[in-house]
């Protein structure tokens, strides 16, 4: 919890409405996202119960598992979901540019909350090893869906990636409500604070959102009284007379998913009201590249992802995640003064007015040559906690960087060392310098998997999908 976000929460309490903690959007919002609202049966390990899915807010498609404990019906559900998801993916063709697979655009999935992300990850896990032949054959789309859902879920772990988004997480990164982060996990309550319905206060709207009879939970867990009073009898009726009872079940499950479907689309609409930050397109391009790469993998080989990361894969993923985390932190602060504000409070960045510029200053470098090292002096009210020598950069001149030479009574002297082609700030300019910068640099060379060292258990057996994986019990 940053100081800015905490202050904004306090303000939200008093103002009675959520406060923006950003000035731009930090995620990409696709023109045609696919929204998925999944429900799971209570007590089971990710047994699907229903999903409302589609790309058009006006025409959602409801998929249900009328008897969630029936393996055949689960796979029928998976097959239908595969139809929807895979035909959506077909809208994003992948071409080859030389050897490189490229995609002009990529698919984007939205789920209501973190639970939705976990559901997709586990649904991917329970379907990706299946086979279309053998003892327990499934429809061809099922294992393909499993691999794609796994890809989306893994992609969503990368800070700044927008291929799979959870509405609560996205909204929470852009607005601070007058309640706790824990309560923000309720999408209806969160939206109640951000965009209270006419004639109702945000607090009332948030309280009302906690009543499952008014706002059914956004899933994947269902309301226990719904389970006991509506769902259980409806499933029992289905067992008696499937044909006559399907509509009743559908009605019940539509009632539980549709409100969340609408809320998720409202979240998307709200995000569209924000201008995307400067680096959003760059990060979306990375999503597109990753998408194209996996698309190619699926076309060529498409083995399912392993159950767990091996030693080398784990180390590689961790390094990439750390890199993405750092880049996301930096580019968000460079894109958005309100995000940068947080570093100004902690003294890691400062903003002020240029009072002096020495553009022609030259100093001797290690080799004894005179090199140009201009000085910029900034007067600031911010509490600067930067040691002399700390490297700093500026959002208005991202290629120009330098280091702090002196800080004294509200005056900070910065020596500019890099990016001198870009014009220097001028006296009177409003500038910001931050010490939270890209780490750059290449990561270490990881050994190939087959050379996994003895310290880490030695080379693992290469993963070969087995019949046992394919026929894994799902009961």
């Amino acid at each position: 919890m940053s100081a800015i976000a905490a202050y904004a929460r306090a303000l939200a309490v008093v103002e009675g409405v959520a406060q923006p903690i950003t000035t731009v959007a930090h995620v990409h919002v696709a023109a045609r996202p696919l929204v998925l609202v999944p429900l799971a049966l209570a007590g089971e390990a990710n047994a699907p119960l229903a999903a409302m899915v589609g790309t058009d807010p006006a025409s959602p498609r409801l998929l249900i598992v009328p008897q969630p404990r029936d393996r055949q019906l689960r796979f029928a559900f998976a097959a239908s979901l595969a139809d929807v998801v895979l035909s959506y993916l077909d809208e994003f063709p992948v071409a080859l540019a030389g050897e490189e697979p490229v995609a002009a655009d990529a698919p984007q999935l939205w789920v209501p909350n973190r639970g939705g992300l976990a559901f997709l990850r586990l649904f991917g896990r329970s379907t990706r090893f299946r086979r279309t032949t053998g003892e327990y054959p499934v429809a061809p789309g099922v294992p393909v869906l499993g691999r794609w859902l796994t890809w989306f879920a893994e992609r969503s772990e990368y800070p700044g990636a927008s291929a799979l988004l959870a509405a609560t997480e996205v909204l929470g990164a852009h607005w601070a409500t007058g309640q706790s982060a824990l309560e923000d996990a309720n999408l209806a309550a969160l939206l109640g604070w951000i965009d209270p319905p006419a004639g109702s206060s945000a607090r009332e709207a948030a309280r009302e959102a906690e009543d499952p009879t008014v706002w059914p939970p956004a899933g994947p867990s269902t309301d226990p009284s719904f389970d006991n009073e509506v769902l259980a009898p409806a499933i029992a009726a289905y067992a008696e007379a499937p044909e006559r009872s399907t509509a009743r079940l559908e009605r019940a499950l539509r009632g539980q998913t549709f409100p969340t479907w609408e809320l998720t689309w409202r979240a998307i609409e709200l995000m569209r009201t924000l201008t995307p930050g400067g680096s959003v397109a760059v990060r979306w391009a990375a999503d597109c590249r990753q998408y194209a790469g996996f698309h190619r993998w699926m076309a060529e080989d498409g083995l399912p992802q392993a159950r767990r990361d091996g030693a080398v894969a784990a180390a590689r993923r961790l390094l990439r995640l750390e890199w993405a985390q750092q880049e996301y932190t930096v580019s968000r602060s460079f894109d958005d003064p309100r995000v940068m504000a947080d570093f100004r409070v902690t003294g890691e960045a400062f903003r002020g007015t240029v009072t002096e510029v020495d553009a022609e200053r030259r100093v001797e470098n290690e080799n004894g040559n005179l090199v140009k090292r201009p000085l910029v002096v900034v007067r600031t009210e911010d509490p600067v906690h930067l040691a002399v020598g700390t490297a700093v950069g500026s959002p208005s001149r991202p290629k120009q960087s330098g280091r702090v030479l002196e800080t004294d009574a509200g005056l900070v002297t910065v020596e500019i060392a890099k990016g001198l082609r870009e014009a220097l700030p001028r006296v009177g300019d409003d500038v910001t310098y931050s010490s939270v910068l890209s780490s750059g640099g290449r990561g270490p060379n990881l050994p190939p998997v087959e050379d996994t060292p003895w310290t880490h258990g030695g080379p693992p057996e290469p993963y070969v999908p087995t019949d046992e994986d394919a026929g894994e019990t799902w009961e």
Partner: protein, 365 residues
């Protein structure tokens, strides 16, 4: 176990003419989830039905359970325990590589017709203390002392003795998928198991007689087949031990309360509470709560306390409170931030930071 003095009469008065609610491992475990909350400590010690209290106060706790979850949990346990725990034994043998050849099964639930707690507990104690090697004990009734009060625990527990040591087996119905399970559910299971380990150790009087690794049995991946995992509960035992020792004396808790204080609901002839809500709220106000948003997910009174905490920084979460300089109320924090109140002398530093925050926030609107 020592003979205890009779329960403090003030507890009965607090509870108001109803029998105390029985503790279970979950309520004992709650000692460690918010040990700083005096209100929770008093209510639990007095055995007050917090759920009924919350309902009468019109802040019902939304802790309903789905019949699907209950059915699945029961079915899983029944399957493991069928035929004298046949499947459970196979699992313990195979997964934990235990040399359990001939195993006896003892169900301690029924003791003839006389099923008073005392009798059952005594029987459990005898059986556990003198039971043979390689015996699985089901449904023992254990006793613990909490704040000087005797508390019976009826764990859904199997304990087995192997090579002279007892091992606690905890059966849970959440799945272990590819070796991983929901960490908050495992944490809850671990602290509950620690309560059992603690109670068993008290009963046997020999700490070393009960292993500090418990065996957690859960459904494997997406199936109904069980998988066993050892969980080290030494940390949980440390915390539990410490918190139980702190609560040694019920007097310290009660002497801070006004004499004659009652939280009784005054049920009418049909059992409906008749106690005015205002009176109850005032009575609760006598014992300070330490509310944090986490309470919503584990304490029956969470929603009541949240309402009470409206306008307090606590209601926004501990991290927010810290960022706001530990100031108690939102109004104070904002006054400090906006410079409309200078705060107490010692708040000068907090005020300076909050003013900077407010300034850079409004500057970037």
């Amino acid at each position: 176990m020592p003979k205890l003095p009779p329960p403090d009469p003030r507890l009965a008065l607090l509870r108001g003419s109803v029998p105390p609610k029985r503790h279970n491992a979950r309520t004992i475990a709650a000692l460690t989830t918010n040990p700083g909350c005096v209100r929770r400590a008093v209510l639990d010690t007095a055995g007050i039905d917090k759920d009924a209290l919350a309902r009468h106060l019109e802040f019902p706790a939304p802790f309903g359970q789905s019949s699907f979850a209950i059915t699945r949990g029961n079915a899983f346990e029944a399957q493991l325990k069928a035929d004298g725990c046949a499947e459970l034994l196979t699992l313990l043998r195979e997964t934990l590589e235990l040399d359990l050849t001939e195993v006896a099964y003892a169900d301690l639930e029924s003791v003839g017709d006389n099923t008073s707690e005392d009798v059952r507990n005594t029987y459990s104690e005898q059986q556990l203390a003198h039971g043979g090697e390689n015996t699985l004990f089901d449904h023992p009734l254990l006793r613990l002392i909490v704040a000087g009060q005797s508390v019976y625990l009826e764990p859904d527990l199997v304990a087995f003795q192997h090579q002279g040591r007892f091992h606690v087996v905890e059966i849970k119905s959440f799945a272990v998928i590819d070796g991983q399970a929901d960490p908050s559910k495992v944490a809850a299971a671990a602290i509950q198991s620690a309560v059992y380990v603690h109670a068993l150790r008290q009963l046997l009087g020999r700490p070393e007689a009960v292993a500090d690794e418990v065996v957690l049995v859960c459904p494997k991946d997406f199936s109904n087949r069980p998988v066993a995992t050892k969980v080290d509960v030494r940390k949980q035992l440390l915390v539990l031990d410490h918190q139980l020792k702190r609560m040694d004396d019920v007097d310290t808790l009660l002497s801070a309360l006004p004499a004659g204080l009652s939280l009784g609901l005054a049920p009418g002839p049909d059992g409906t509470p008749t106690r005015p809500v205002g009176e109850l709220t005032a009575a609760l106000g006598e014992m300070s709560a330490r509310y944090s948003p986490d309470c919503l997910s584990h304490c029956e009174l969470g929603f009541f306390c949240r309402d009470e905490a409206t306008g307090c920084t606590d209601a926004l979460g501990t991290a927010v409170r810290e960022q706001l300089g530990g100031v108690d109320t939102v109004a104070e924090a904002l006054q400090l931030a906006q410079g409309t109140w200078a705060g107490d002398e010692y708040q000068a530093e907090v005020a300076a930071v909050l003013r900077t925050t407010a300034r850079v926030f409004s500057e970037t609107a």
